[in-house]
């Protein structure tokens, strides 16, 4: 009996402490302002693909609000049933974890559709933090975050292997450019740009080709831009992962960090890292999309658009778009290098998520859920008649590749950088 009571009190204490740390004015507003009018319902791609109450934004947020009311609302403690307040239990925290991690991609679309602008994604971010603090987060995401931290703690352990891999990629770049002068510099002090890739060669080779073509002063980061702790809502870990790159940039005295085509990596470094650190970063942070756009605008690259003659559409990553503000840069680049660009409807700020954002794609158990949630995107792609889908986020790229197979779209998925390289004249 005592053990049960102690466990319950412990859960309540952990939840209260975690919530207390996470609720700022932005989250408080989102928690309190919702009147459960239901107008946001169809804004969610999960609901549109499978109309269940559990997939409505207000249902998801309500899972956190029940706990919030129990812990913070006088009426929630006095008359919990009156306001639907609930104490944290193993069952409720487990349900909260599943709701936050498996049925919401934190895409922020519902915020724009809500008459009050309720930020359900921010509430779900809090839910993820709560679930992580309670040990209910998906193991895969926790392991990926821990692996990134381990790499930051022991970079020398990985250095030789990494440099050897980069050497191989450099030969590939030299072959493609037909020049032995092309390089992929690593650890070059005083370079203008520290370019931060992902783990795949497709986020290093095309960009290295373009940097070499324009004669950019750049160096490749030792680390990848992926920050899985962001998906966990684990700010201390997210900060440690970001600090690896920030310290590298400071050590190399670069002028700016350029993030590869990565959905969450860009807003994490551009917008969130300064908040985690408590001060602005001492250098500029840009996405490779902004850099490529600048090259196009300044005429530093020359193209043959005919090489990209097939119908092309662009999928807005929610992280780059609604959280990052990058809408026009990718479109300007695509129009410069391709002759048949077609928009999906809706697009830009109203674009639908691919169904796999914010870590969903990394958890194999949720494959069915994300493929179902991606139906809307698959239908959008099909309506454009495009043969190539461009996206600037690796999660989206993987998901759209799977949607292609699952829904028989008969498309190719590629990135802006690859598209630009293909058009080089």
């Amino acid at each position: 009996m005592n053990t049960t009571v102690e466990l319950k009190e412990n859960k309540t204490a952990v939840s209260k402490e975690t919530l207390g740390k996470l609720i700022d004015r932005r989250v408080l507003g989102a928690l309190e302002v919702c009147v459960r009018c239901g107008i946001c319902t169809e804004s969610c791609h999960f609901y549109r693909s499978d109309p269940k109450v559990e997939y409505t934004p207000f249902y998801r947020a309500e899972q956190v609000r029940q706990l919030y009311r129990y812990l913070n609302d006088p009426l929630g403690r006095l008359a919990p049933r009156w306001v639907n307040a609930k104490a944290p239990t193993d069952e409720s925290l487990s349900k909260l974890a599943e709701t936050a991690f498996a049925t919401c991609t934190l895409c922020h679309r519902c915020t724009l559709e809500c008459p009050f602008g309720v930020e359900t994604a921010e509430i779900m971010r809090v839910a993820r933090s709560l679930a992580t603090a309670a040990g209910q987060a998906p193991e895969m995401l926790v392991e990926l975050a821990n692996a990134a931290i381990a790499k930051g703690e022991n970079p020398d352990f990985f250095r030789d292997f990494y440099l050897e891999q980069v050497k191989g990629l450099e030969e590939e770049v030299q072959d493609k450019l037909g020049s032995s002068k092309a390089h992929i510099p690593v650890g070059k002090e005083g370079a203008d740009i520290l370019y931060v890739p992902l783990s795949g060669a497709h986020t290093i080779v095309p960009q290295a080709i373009l940097f070499n073509v324009v004669g950019e002063s750049w160096t490749l980061s030792m680390f990848e831009t992926a920050n899985y702790a962001v998906f966990l809502g684990d700010i201390p870990k997210a900060k440690r992962i970001a600090e690896r790159i920030i310290k590298e940039a400071e050590l190399l005295k670069v002028k700016e960090i350029v993030i590869t085509e990565c959905g969450h990596g860009y807003p994490a470094m551009r917008w969130e890292a300064p908040k985690w650190l408590g001060h602005p970063l001492p250098f500029r942070v840009r996405s490779i999309l902004e850099v490529l756009d600048e090259y196009v605008q300044k005429g530093r690259l020359h193209f043959n658009r005919g090489r990209n003659g097939e119908p092309i559409t662009y999928h807005d990553s929610c992280n780059l778009g609604r959280k990052g503000g990058l809408y026009e840069e990718p479109r300007r680049v695509i129009r410069a290098v391709a002759s048949d660009f077609r928009e999906m409807t809706p697009n830009r700020i109203h674009s639908f998520c691919c169904g796999a954002g914010s870590g969903l794609v990394a958890v194999p158990e949720w494959t069915d859920i994300r493929l179902q949630a991606g139906k809307l995107k698959a239908d959008q792609i099909r309506r454009t008649g495009a043969k190539i889908v461009i996206t600037s986020c690796d999660n989206c790229r993987y998901q759209i590749g799977e949607l292609n197979e699952h829904y028989g779209l008969n498309i190719e998925v590629s990135s802006i950088s690859e598209l630009v390289v293909k058009a080089l004249s």
Binding site: L28, E32, C34, C37, I39, F58, G117, P274, G321, G325
Partner: protein
């Protein structure tokens, strides 16, 4: 002033005091929570974002949801506008007899329309399975009290003898505000300001 009128006035004033004190406490508590917003160099303008949030950002034509739920959206707008009128009537109510009959009757009609939109709120909440499942007793109590406030406000504007009843209902409703979802109007400003600050700063609303 009759005893009943006196009683009504005391209830209304007490309700107004409790409401003001309760809301002040909520605002102070909200102001004590951390203010975390972007500190990275802006891509857009936070100030323009806030302006957008309170103007075009609320326009129904920019919202797909408003097109889908146009009945609920219009109902919501009418309901809230009539609440503001009801509050204005409450403030002016001690001088009700001095207000022109035509103005009073117009106010009465508008407030009764508001009360009908309140009833429609019940219908929508009970008809939609998702809303029915997630609605709390507080949702119904808040909607019921506000609807009653509008209905009695309308009747009082037409029949001044009902003023003490309007004051009593107003007092009860105002007392309930800080403890219920009726307090959401305070947080409306926080939600819209943050929407504007974040989305504006990041250049999303250009």
């Amino acid at each position: 002033m009759s005893v009943f009128e006196m009683f009504g006035a005391v209830v209304a004033l007490a309700g107004a005091l409790i409401c003001t004190a309760g809301l002040a406490r909520l605002i102070l508590a909200a102001q004590r929570t951390p203010f975390r917003t972007d500190i990275a160099p802006a891509r857009g303008s936070a100030a323009r974002g806030v302006l957008y949030a309170f103007t075009l950002g609320m326009a129904p034509w920019v919202k797909e949801s408003a097109r889908i739920h146009w009945v609920a959206y219009i109902r919501g707008i009418l309901f809230h506008l009539t609440i503001f009128l009801g509050l204005a009537l409450l403030v002016a109510s001690p001088w009700l007899a001095q207000i022109l009959t035509q103005v009073r009757l117009s106010v009465a009609v508008i407030l009764e329309v508001g009360a009908v939109t309140g009833l429609a709120g019940f219908w929508i909440r009970l008809r939609e399975p998702a809303l029915r499942q997630l609605s709390t007793p507080d949702d119904y109590a808040s909607l019921g009290l506000t609807t009653l406030f509008l209905a009695l406000g309308g009747l009082t504007a037409a029949v001044a003898e009902l003023l003490p009843v309007f004051w009593i209902i107003s007092g009860i409703t105002m007392t309930y505000v800080p403890f219920s979802k009726l307090r959401h109007f305070v947080y409306f400003f926080y939600a819209r300001i943050y929407f504007g600050l974040v989305f504006g700063h990041r250049g999303l609303l250009e």
